[in-house]
Assembly symmetry: C2
């Protein structure tokens, strides 16, 4: 079925549409951004949705507006998994390049791709060997090299979530490439799901990189990988470390709590006074478990939430897409000053209580 | 305007209504509970909305279903604040009694009222003396005595949020009365807002009761007072201490983040694998700040969220109301086992990181 948000937009009008928007999107009027005609043409040619929105902040006396455009890309894989790994990967590179070019022409300065974007999301097949050649170096693997050129060319910071191989261990890693095309750093997924037959712990270790915030030319950014969105403290520590934007590159299917999708990252934006960017795969991927062939269908629906609780509509639930969001970073401090959530957080009390609770629970 | 949820219910049908429900309520079909005819009559006579829903859990091999009915009451004040305090309070008691009677006849076993339910929500007037006589003892104040009789008569656990006076200090306190009418304990609001001209810190101190969970005959319950819903760690510690249901009695107005209302408590239910019950006042209250007369209008919209991310529709945004929710407590562990959020929480890492972060931020 078509994205329910599009259906509702057609069903409601006037005051009722405003009231729906106020509750559902946190804003009576959704501000759409104008995009270039050539971008529209290119998005049609390349068969991806292009949507663009803006969030505004109040005018301040001392600070100037601090606007930056973000880009979120969701995409399906191109070839089935019986093709060679270099072919599968190259086909995805070829699909992503024109989307990044459109992002550049729309002034996107920070761009993020979905979880393990250059490959199928394989983590339920119980097979490890088959996927080994997708695992790559964060610093100079094919994905980093491919994106570095585009980052440099377009002066764009790019967050590239990959399957990392390092020291004989696999990691679910987001690489951050700066606007000069240099490797800036990486974050490894902190929380690994074991849900049903879907267990990531068999593939890689829980992240050992803590909660880094990357001070880029355009903003202080962080990455909360997929299942980490269920963990309030994961979101919180990125805020403590100064993040203004937290990306949440994901690979998730309807059966895994689709009704949470619009709740968790938005709640994190409210709780932590920063922007969150939710990105999910689209398309159906086929894989074998033993002799059985199975499929998984990702529902896309990428969106951006602001610290004031407002959010954009979702991208399509089945098509590739680029979401452009113009934000004003001043909104983070404005909201923090208004609601005082950080001021009233009493974190010292909680650190103590958590420790005590954990100690009380271990009985030797 | 009428509650937008009611409008949407009329605008959509068939597969589209199901899809909307799936995303918005986390369940394709909202399960309404039958209520007694006499309850319907009494709710009309007493001019309050009566709504009843149920959440189900899977059948288990060893544990039997563990169903319990919860009641949430939202109400407006009766008299304006130029009446005497005993008169104002008695009028509210008289309004609440028949609502509790209906709750009893619907089999409600645990009931919660709104924040400082026996009085206006005064905390923005800058006046303290005027409200002093509303402050009462948690153990044997008029509100506890009034509710204790009803609790005993109907074998009902009642959560009673009041303005407490104790040791010369005011507290924003939830009193828990057990099903025999005895005082079981209390919780004092942990996080106090200072938003705009609205500063609670001038009236009472931040809670010193930690995160108690009350083991009642029917369930393990806790109370997260109003603004505490913005604090993920407040919710978390109630889970750590074993809560199956957390009530969030509130007094909040549209300007204070109404779009957060449906997000935060629901997110907490998902994150912590327990039920959350959101209760908010209704009606317009008039008060004076200096020579100026101002009003505040509360939007009601009380609702219940389940650990699987599903939720009930909201009560009215302007009328008194009783929401009855039948839950199966088995759902808490079922969801915990399914998603594994607690298992993957890495709380020891966070206690350490929070401490380090706080230490690094203090520069002497």
């Amino acid at each position: 079925m078509e994205n329910i948000e599009n259906i509702l937009k057609q069903r409601l009008s006037g005051a009722q549409l405003k009231e729906f928007n106020r509750i559902y999107y946190g804003t009576e009027v959704i501000k759409e951004l104008e995009v270039n005609e050539t971008s529209k043409v290119r998005s049609k040619e390349n068969n991806f949705t292009l949507a663009a929105y803006s969030f505004s902040a109040s005018k301040e006396e001392i600070r100037k507006p601090n606007k930056v455009r973000l880009g979120l890309i969701q995409h399906s894989i191109v070839y089935t998994t019986d093709n060679t790994i270099p072919d599968q990967r190259q086909a995805i590179f070829d699909k992503i390049r024109p989307i990044i070019e459109v992002a550049a022409s729309e002034g996107v300065r920070i761009l993020c791709l979905q979880e393990t974007w250059p490959m199928p999301f394989f983590l339920c097949t119980k097979e490890k060997k088959k996927w080994a050649d997708f695992a790559e170096s964060a610093i100079d693997g094919p994905s980093t090299l491919f994106l570095s050129k585009l980052a440099k060319k377009y002066e764009m910071v790019i967050v590239s979530p990959i399957l990392e191989s390092d020291g004989g261990v696999w990691w679910n890693t987001a690489v951050v490439i700066d606007e000069e095309g240099n490797y800036l750093g990486k974050h490894r997924k902190n929380h690994l799901p074991s849900v049903g037959s879907f267990s990531e712990t068999a593939y890689y270790a829980p992240g050992n990189t803590g909660h880094p915030v990357f001070k880029t030319k355009y903003a202080n950014i962080a990455v909360n990988m997929c299942y980490g969105r269920h963990h309030a403290l994961n979101w919180l520590m990125f805020a403590e470390n100064g993040a203004q934007i937290v990306f949440n590159p994901s690979a998730t299917i309807a059966e895994f709590g689709q009704s949470f999708w619009g709740v968790e990252a938005r709640n994190a934006a409210i709780a932590n006074s920063y922007f969150t960017c939710s990105i999910n795969r689209v398309g159906t991927e086929e894989f074998t478990v033993g002799n059985e062939t199975k499929t998984r269908t990702y529902y896309g629906s990428s969106y951006v939430s602001a610290p004031d609780g407002s959010r954009t509509p979702c991208l399509s639930n089945e098509k590739d897409g680029l979401l452009v969001a113009e934000i004003d970073l001043n909104l983070c401090r404005q909201v923090k000053d208004k609601w005082g959530f950080r001021m009233t957080a009493r974190l010292d009390m909680y650190a103590k209580e958590i420790n005590e609770s954990l100690e009380n629970k271990i009985v030797y």
